[in-house]
């Protein structure tokens, strides 16, 4: 092959070669390129500008909360210590958020993994029904579930006088109602992507189905499980209505609830500076997760919704 090709190239001058190698860019190509670049710029600006505003508003002096300068002048980090002041008690709120989110995520994974495996791999009559129940449960309005649980946890039912208000389980148990369907749904999508031949090969080699799942599938599904854990964690971390209802005491509020209820030192003024700082602090862990695992997260989001 090379023997045939070399003489042809040998006839060309370097200039001609360069001209041939250069991709031809006509006006239409450039137009497309410019439009596409503009479009990309639009998306980036659209997504980031409000967030940029939140960040720079958190970097103003606490007295300049409503300043409209596009760049803080002077830059000040005073709002950040203010977030953790005794009055706002935000560190405690973050700890509460971590406890609720991590516990809920672990519980959903414990329950969800085996269930999702069954849904992805086994054949049984009620499969369509179970899948419909799970997807249906994730679409329930939270308020419909909240009401009886609120009555229950405040001890309003004589047959079950629970007084769980302001205890972690009061937020964790309702959070399962949307965390578990999300988790099972995503994991099912991930398990489906793994070739069934893997387990068959393991079983041919003498594994029981249980062993095949434990020793072959679980290690391979680890990335999927991890992604599902992140998605569930983010969903629970961002949750507002349940925490607002069940964790009302000062020391029990989660981060989302606490920052929505910040009060200024001067009474009526909304302390926008410290609220924005709290917003940044609440969002940063998620953004780090998102930036590190963006490929996985996108795969997880789309696997849940798109086949």
């Amino acid at each position: 092959m090379t023997q045939v090709a070399t003489p042809v190239i040998a006839h060309l001058t370097p200039e001609e070669l360069a001209a041939l190698n250069k991709p031809r860019h006509d006006g239409k190509w450039w137009l497309g390129k410019i439009a596409s670049t503009l479009g990309m710029a639009f998306i980036v600006i659209y997504c980031l500008v409000p967030f940029y505003w939140m960040i720079i508003s958190s970097l103003r002096l606490p007295t300049m909360g409503l300043s409209n300068d596009y760049w803080p002048n002077p830059i000040s980090f005073e709002n950040y210590p203010g977030v953790f002041s005794a009055q706002n008690n935000f560190l405690r709120a973050i700890i509460n958020s971590v406890v609720v989110s991590v516990t809920t995520t672990v519980l959903t994974l414990v329950f969800g993994i085996i269930g999702a495996y069954a849904l992805a791999r086994l054949r049984f009559a009620a499969k369509g029904f179970v899948l419909a129940i799970i997807i249906g449960a994730s679409m329930f309005p939270g308020i419909t579930l909240l009401l009886p649980l609120f009555k229950l946890f405040t001890g309003a039912y004589d047959w079950m006088p629970l007084h769980w208000l302001n205890q972690y389980q009061a937020a964790i148990i309702p959070s399962l109602s949307f965390g578990l369907p999300l988790c099972v749904w995503n994991l099912t999508a991930f398990f489906r992507q793994l070739p069934v031949e893997l387990e068959q090969a393991a079983m041919v080699d003498g594994c029981t189905p249980g062993e095949a799942f434990r020793k072959v599938i679980l290690p391979l599904a680890a990335p999927g499980v991890f992604t599902t854990a992140i998605l569930t964690f983010i969903a629970v971390w961002n949750e507002f209505m349940i925490s607002l209802t069940f964790l009302q005491a000062r020391d029990m509020k989660t981060a989302t609830v606490a920052l929505s209820q910040f009060t200024g030192t001067l009474g009526f003024n909304t302390p926008f500076g410290s609220i924005m700082a709290a917003g940044v602090i609440t969002t940063i862990p998620l953004l780090i997760l998102v930036l590190f695992f963006q490929r996985r997260i996108v795969a997880g989001l789309t696997a849940g919704g798109v086949k």
Partner: protein, 363 residues
């Protein structure tokens, strides 16, 4: 002896399986799914039933005429929690004039859902098309598109509250510093502010899901269209949209149901008890906080039924394939084929019979 009895009884003990595709994995599946289903039964199933029951009761208020004590507990009131919209409406004045508070909340919910979802879909599809054609910088765009998605809704609510403040940057950008719009003042502009905040947060999400759908379209289809001389618009409406439709419909369905139960944004941005932006979730929540459990349950059931209806319409009319299980799809397709076949056979035999009878009548 034992062998012969076993042989004799064996055929009769084999039950006909209801589902021909189930090959004895049902027991294992039931075992593996039991924990999940049990948890969901307790955290979703029972509360739903309790909510429905609650909707037919109402807390006893007032003083017992016989004892003079404040009454506690609740009494069965039938459909009164629902019919009170007509019998004893609690009139509020939102942006649509004076009407019952539930109807006001219902209109708000519907308005937000329709406007937000339409705008999000258009923007999201546009974003997906841009990203699909991207030459470079995809990583940056994907990272930035995940930012609105990752921000907690309540954080975005307070963020937009600052932006839409009377002295805020929105009025500055619009050049209205002298005659500012009162975005947060419980009026039509508050509705717009909510819609803008919601669209900002979720249009990128639809874009992301649509992009995943776009990437499954093979390049050959576009090449064929080019060869056939299709215009860009024709390519979009005849190829891109139909082929991305399954992914898009599911994304839009999820977004629609999510917007129907909107709570955090009106609560965090405008505040509770503001009629111009009060959604069904917020209204039911406030009723619950006021310990009017019966009414709250009734309104949450209204929202629940509304969501069920919308989901049903999506699945029936737009053919949203939310379950997306290939095997189930295959089973259903096979069932349908068999039914078709049976119908055709029945028709064929029927037509044969009529031919014979007509033939005999003619002779």
């Amino acid at each position: 002896m034992a062998v012969t009895t076993a042989e004799r009884t064996a055929p009769t003990t084999i039950k006909r399986k209801k589902n021909a595709f189930s090959d004895g994995q049902g027991a294992l599946a039931a075992m593996l799914l039991a924990p999940t289903l049990l948890v969901m039964f307790f955290v979703t199933g029972i509360p739903i039933v309790m909510s429905i029951v609650e909707a037919f009761y109402r807390a006893k208020g007032g003083v017992d005429p016989n004892t003079g004590l404040v009454q506690t507990g609740s009494s069965f009131v039938g459909l009164q929690n629902f019919t009170d919209i007509f019998a004893h409406p609690s009139i509020v004045v939102g942006v649509y004039g004076s009407m019952d508070r539930l109807i006001n909340a219902f209109i708000n919910t519907t308005l937000f859902t329709v406007v937000c979802v339409v705008l999000e879909t258009i923007l999201g599809v546009a974003m997906a098309l841009i990203m699909a054609r991207a030459f470079r910088g995809r990583g940056l765009v994907r990272a930035s598109i995940l930012v609105p998605w990752a921000i907690p809704t309540i954080v975005s609510a307070v963020m937009w509250k600052l932006i839409f403040n009377t002295d805020g940057v929105a009025n500055k950008v619009l050049g209205l510093t002298n005659s500012p719009i009162l975005w947060l003042g419980d009026n039509r502009y508050s509705q717009m502010a909510i819609i803008i905040a919601d669209v900002w947060k979720t249009a990128p999400f639809i874009g992301l899901l649509t992009l995943a759908g776009l990437q499954t379209i093979p390049a050959e289809v576009y090449e064929a269209a080019k060869v056939d001389g299709a215009s860009a618009w024709q390519t979009f409406t005849r190829i891109t949209l139909p082929m991305v439709k399954p992914a898009l419909v599911v994304a839009v369905l999820f977004r629609t149901l999510d917007t129907l139960r909107m709570f955090d944004l009106p609560w965090g941005m405008i505040g509770p008890g503001k009629y111009s932006v009060e959604t069904l979730s917020v209204f039911a929540y406030l009723e619950m906080n006021a310990t009017r459990y019966g009414q709250a349950a009734a309104y949450s059931i209204v929202l629940f039924l509304y969501i069920v209806l919308v989901a049903f319409l999506f699945v029936k009319l737009l053919g949203a394939d939310v379950v997306g299980d290939e095997e189930l799809k295959a089973i259903n397709a096979q069932r349908k084929r068999m039914r078709e076949l049976h119908r055709k056979q029945a028709k064929a035999s029927a037509s044969v019979r009529t031919n014979i009878t007509s033939g005999s009548a003619a002779s």
